[in-house]
Symmetry: C2
Subunit: 368 residues, 2 copies
């Protein structure tokens, strides 16, 4: 059981204990519908990234809105989603611990499970993990399409690796993981277009090499909220892995957009606990409730400037027009949705000013 | 129940699943002994900060090593420590939600409980929360001794507030909270000495004002790992709130020291999952397992340079002498202990190369 939730069903907004992650359910549903509409008429599938929300209740709603399955980054996340009934989960990451690979193999008896590799070492470990085990995993080869983190360079080595995958009992070569994470956060549309054009070109060549060697490449998976329209339009990608679109955050909002926007469905609610130091108001949330890797959370109601943060506090400059008082609520947009969500145990879903849903963030902290 | 621990008792180090927070028990015990020795012969009490570890198993060992009680920052943390049998807990923070104050009041029936205020608004809320409730809380007035976050300026208003506290049934005025957080991280001893000399002077004046009005001020509480020797030597502080000393982190190690050092008892163990991009090795931990507010975690075994981080990955420049391979272990010192611990559910205690203890981080995520 996760810790006590910060609200009760039916309570008005003002009674939510803080800090709390609050989802505006109307905006959330609108975001899911907007993504479904963007893909309507296309044969490209949506496989939303569960790392962004870690929440089976959201995953189920994404499946109901047309997703073919979920992505996640960790085996322990996949275990949470499969236990919650998600029938198809792709781990978009390299996994090298034999025990983790065995747990993934065991999951493949109740759900369709895939993972990524970017070299022979990982395939050898997969072979070791699967020896004598009843399992069926599909494997995507991750190629580096400009992210510069994991992923093979595009070369004939991809053909050798796909062949090696096909030789391991229980493994099927599934295609390519071609995710360009950095491109998501390039601010200008032109820069994103150039980055994804390059990614598409690399993936196209990798696919051609495989097909030239007689190896089918049915899946090319990648894309995020910042660029998915480009991968969608490429004619090459078969699956989109966008995750942030459902909830959004302040960092994505800094992109200059070239299409319909998604709404900030997720906010962080906080309370002023001190105004003793002149000119500032101190909130009851800090690094332990708001990730700062993409900057501090942004106060939107009321608008205010963050002038300091520490483990449990965020210091705001007092708004000139109407100074905040002890006990006042402040609503903030998280700087970066994924690591902020990972700090909380509950989403509080609200509609028409009242709490309608309490969704456990069941894969919170699932790092193994 | 927290998620599955990353190791089994008795397992060798290499079998700990990663990412994992590992405590070297010899170093941890040496740190507790070093703090006890630093305070030996003094009448100053140790009240270690539980916000740093959030772990009842550590709290109990700190009590056994002479602590009079624990500090924490949140009511939900206090609930965890009291439930685990800690008999004396001070919330070193302002609490303004009446329901939270009532929970704190309820705790005061099984443990000695204190909290901080820095203005009349919080005392009014306390009066509202305690009305008709069987409770006994002691209240410290937080004064701003240079931190510039919460805390009243030193003035006769402190006397009025102490008087107001004394009039609320169930409340006792306990003394002053005089913590200078910023001073902990000033790099040079001279700068820390100057900051704490100023803090001591402010606290001394506040105490004199109270005593001049006939109000005893039995407690002056504050100090952290970076400065506690200065508060200890002040002759004024009665309680030290150091927390990081037990585990330590990379940020504290950046201080130029003027006394015996504490050892890095806490490390983050990670595994190389990819070396596909030339010149780099990618670890299986990122923002979701290592807080970055004080910089990235520092690889110490082997020594290596962090050249990138994202939600689930840390990218190292390949060490020139002996490149890392897929599956290799890397040991890192967290940049900042408190928010890093808050990302994990377990401490893995090791001695002589084997897992000796698994300690749940029971107050992980306790933000209410």
């Amino acid at each position: 059981m996760p810790p006590r939730p910060p609200a009760e069903i039916g309570a008005p907004l003002a009674e939510i204990e803080t800090p709390a992650l609050v989802i505006d359910l109307d905006l959330f549903e609108r975001n899911l519908a907007a993504m479904a509409e963007a893909l309507a008429g296309s044969r490209v599938r949506l496989r939303p990234h569960g790392k962004a929300h870690k929440c089976p209740d959201i995953a189920r709603r994404q499946m109901a809105a047309g997703a073919v399955g979920l992505c996640c980054q960790k085996v322990s996340e996949a275990e949470v989603f499969v236990a919650a009934g998600i029938p198809d989960v792709l781990v978009t990451n390299e996994v090298v611990d034999v025990r983790k690979l065995q747990r993934l193999a065991d999951l493949s008896r109740t759900a369709r499970i895939g993972l990524c590799v970017d070299g022979p070492a990982q395939v050898e470990r997969l072979a070791q993990a699967l020896a004598g085990r009843d399992a069926a995993l599909y494997v995507l080869i991750e190629i580096d399409v400009g992210q510069g983190r994991c992923g093979m360079a595009v070369s004939p080595d991809i053909v050798s690796l796909a062949t090696a995958i096909g030789r391991v009992p229980g493994l099927t070569f599934g295609g390519l993981q071609a995710y360009h994470g950095k491109a998501q956060h390039l601010r200008e549309p032109e820069a994103r277009r150039a980055a994804i054009a390059d990614a598409v070109e690399r993936a196209r060549i990798a696919k051609a090499m495989l097909e030239g060697a007689g190896i089918p490449c049915p899946v090319i998976s990648g894309a995020g909220t910042g660029t998915f329209r480009l991968e969608l339009a490429s004619g090459l990608y078969t699956e989109l892995q966008a995750g942030s679109y459902a909830l959004m955050d302040a960092d994505y909002a800094r992109n200059t957009l070239d299409g319909p926007i998604f709404a900030h469905a997720l906010t962080l609610h906080a309370t002023v606990i001190s105004t003793a130091v002149p000119g500032q108001a101190v909130l009851d949330v800090g690094y332990k409730g708001a990730a700062v890797d993409s900057g501090p959370p942004v106060p939107v109601s009321p608008q205010a400037e963050v002038i300091g943060m520490s483990d449990e506090h965020t210091i705001l400059r007092q708004p000139a027009r109407k100074p905040l008082a002890v006990g006042d609520r402040v609503v903030l947009v998280p700087g970066h949705v994924d690591p902020t969500v990972n700090l909380h145990d509950w989403f509080v879903g609200v509609r028409d000013g009242h709490v309608e849903a309490l969704w456990p963030i069941s894969a919170r902290g699932a790092g193994l």
